[in-house]
């Protein structure tokens, strides 16, 4: 069932393709495209212009000045506080995600420059348990905000998350309160927070830190919302939901975000915004 007719996202798992294959198939237009051309093109299909997922590192590379990124993520991993087992142990899911992505969890944070403006940037990686926010992501976001406050830099967060990491139970829910409290301290310090929402920004992430940007920018094709279509249809059956439900244009139309920006223009937008705010930061 197509939720977003014109802008349905490609769920191409770039990293699942064998490394020696030079070609990949765009699931949107069906064309075989040269893999390197896609990578060089910000993971945008050169044939039809639709977007592939960006990993956190790819996203960072597409936004910050070359060579300026210095990761400051804490060396921490989830401790599986509930000993959670559903059809399989949570520790196994974590292990698999770590192996698949080479990451410790679903967020990378670090120092960087955008057009010479020093910032702290945190970026979610959807491949890691759906970009869900558990104890580790909450801690890394707060760590990033702490660093921004200490160095007096703007904070940029790029979200791509299905919501809370349910395998961590209430620990994950409370990360909403934890990150929001850190965000409030950033405001007290007089530092700007730019929130970039990408596909998807939903659930507990949308209902906390991501929605509290001083300026909120959505990447074209972002899906933004709290409770998804399925939850709504299960809870209050028979509600007719519009075709553009929870799309970028839906969020813009209803006043939830400031702008919708094409992927290729995202860096320029940040340059403009950060340049504007840079004067107040010093």
């Amino acid at each position: 069932m197509a939720i977003f007719k014109e802008r349905q996202y490609l769920r191409v798992q770039v990293d699942k393709e064998p490394d020696d294959s030079l070609w990949m198939k765009c699931k949107s237009c069906g064309e075989l495209v040269f893999k390197r051309r896609v990578r060089e093109n910000n993971n945008i299909c050169p044939k039809c212009g639709d977007y592939f997922f960006l990993t956190a590192m790819e996203r960072i590379a597409s936004l910050v000045d070359d060579g300026s990124f210095e990761e400051i993520s804490k060396p921490i991993v989830s401790d599986d506080p509930l000993g959670f087992v559903d059809r399989r142990p949570y520790t196994e899911r974590l292990e698999e995600s770590r192996a698949k992505t080479g990451l410790n969890d679903a967020l990378i944070v670090g120092h960087a420059m955008i057009d010479g403006v020093p910032i702290v940037i945190a970026v979610m990686d959807f491949r890691f348990v759906g970009g869900s926010m558990g104890s580790v992501m909450g801690e890394q976001i707060c760590h990033g905000i702490d660093a921004a406050i200490e160095l007096r830099r703007p904070f940029v967060l790029v979200s791509s998350s299905g919501g809370a990491r349910v395998q961590e139970g209430l620990f994950s829910l409370l990360q909403m309160a934890k990150t929001v409290a850190a965000r409030a301290r950033l405001a007290d310090a007089g530092l700007p927070f730019i929130s970039v929402m990408t596909y998807p920004t939903s659930g507990g992430v949308q209902a906390s830190i991501a929605s509290l940007g001083d300026v909120i920018i959505a990447e074209r094709g972002a899906m933004i919302g709290f409770a998804g279509r399925r939850v709504i249809e299960q809870t209050i059956a028979q509600q007719e939901l519009p075709q553009d439900f929870q799309t970028d244009s839906f969020a813009l139309e209803h006043g939830q975000i400031d702008r919708v920006v094409k992927r290729e223009d995202l860096r320029d937008e940040l340059v403009t915004l950060l340049g504007f705010f840079a004067e107040t930061v010093r």
Binding site: A181, Q239, Q246
Partner: protein, 315 residues
């Protein structure tokens, strides 16, 4: 195994015997005592070994006291305030001014309905954006006059739906959390029934978080977890156990500050006693919080939330 219905039957039998006893002049007091002891024992067996899923059912018990039942028993001169000043007055959230003994407080609470008509009015206790905006308005108002805030949590979750999303339910929850992080007055949150996800937390990021003994607090309903993680909606018992959503579990995980005991059988067995126990605990916590210097209290709150989470360091 006995369940709650067996106990109710036994209770009715004892009552019958008592009436016979007084009417006919036959001395049944010995039998009555024996039965009473048996009832007590069965009840203890049942409720001291409640499974997590049974606690979920107790937390959602249709006869369980709701926010207004506590408000009228705990506070005096409750004065309800209405509306978010923008688009409406959400009846799933009740907000107002009151006194706890002599102290002034503001109360923000989620209210379920007991009848179909009430539930229609109160959306089964599921707040919409205007509800969270009302909560924020009243919390901000309270802080402006140095009045502590007490919130009572009892919701399956925020109301999911087109209208909620159009009016940015996620943003409303986020803003409510931000307000709670910055309120300069003492804040206490109590989960009295269901603490359902972000919709519950939105009014729950307080200095102190308490739970009634048979209430639950969870990131996702057991039904939701069963459907999503187990891909089998019948495995709610496993999901309920895995989520560690009961008050005793959450206390031992260090995620809440206290558990308020309920009468044997659950809060619905004795509204008065439950309310009295909650009132005592609220008074105690509020005295403690109010005695602390503001900056120290705010620093403690910041530290509490900054340190929530479990992770380990790797090389």
């Amino acid at each position: 195994m006995s369940d709650e219905r067996t106990l109710d039957l036994l209770e009715a039998k004892i009552e019958e015997l008592r009436q016979l006893n007084s009417q006919d002049g036959i001395d049944l007091s010995c039998e009555i005592r024996t039965l009473e002891r048996k009832l007590e024992r069965l009840r203890r067996d049942l409720f001291e070994n409640l499974s997590d899923w049974e606690r979920v059912k107790t937390a959602r018990h249709p006869k369980r006291p709701y926010a207004l039942d506590y408000i009228e028993r705990i506070f005096t001169s409750f004065y309800e305030l209405h509306g978010d000043r923008i688009s409406g007055d959400d009846r799933a959230i009740i907000a107002g001014l009151a006194r706890l003994e002599e102290r002034r407080v503001a109360v923000v609470a989620q209210q379920k309905g007991r009848t179909t008509a009430e539930n229609k009015e109160r959306f089964f206790g599921m707040p919409r954006p205007q509800g969270y905006r009302k909560a924020r308005r009243v919390m901000t108002l309270a802080a402006q006059f140095g009045i502590p805030v007490i919130s009572l949590i009892d919701t399956p979750g925020a109301y999911p739906g087109l209208e909620s999303e159009e009016q940015n339910i996620g943003g409303a929850i986020a803003e409510s959390l931000r307000t709670m992080a910055t309120l300069r007055v003492p804040t206490i949150a109590v989960v009295i029934g269901e603490g359902g996800s972000g919709g519950a937390l939105a009014i729950g990021a307080a200095d102190r978080v308490l739970m009634l003994e048979n209430s639950i607090y969870t990131v996702i309903s057991p039904e939701g977890a069963a459907a999503i993680l187990w891909k089998d909606k019948d495995r709610v018992k496993e999901a309920a156990a895995a989520l560690r959503l009961t008050a005793p579990h959450l206390l031992s995980l260090g995620l809440i500050d206290g558990v308020v005991p309920e009468p044997l059988g659950g809060a619905h067995k004795d509204f008065e006693r439950t309310a009295a126990a909650l009132k005592r605990e609220l008074c105690r916590q509020l005295s403690e919080l109010s005695a602390r210097p503001v900056e120290e209290r705010l620093a403690a709150r910041a530290e509490t939330y900054r340190s929530i989470g479990r992770f380990r360091t790797v090389e």
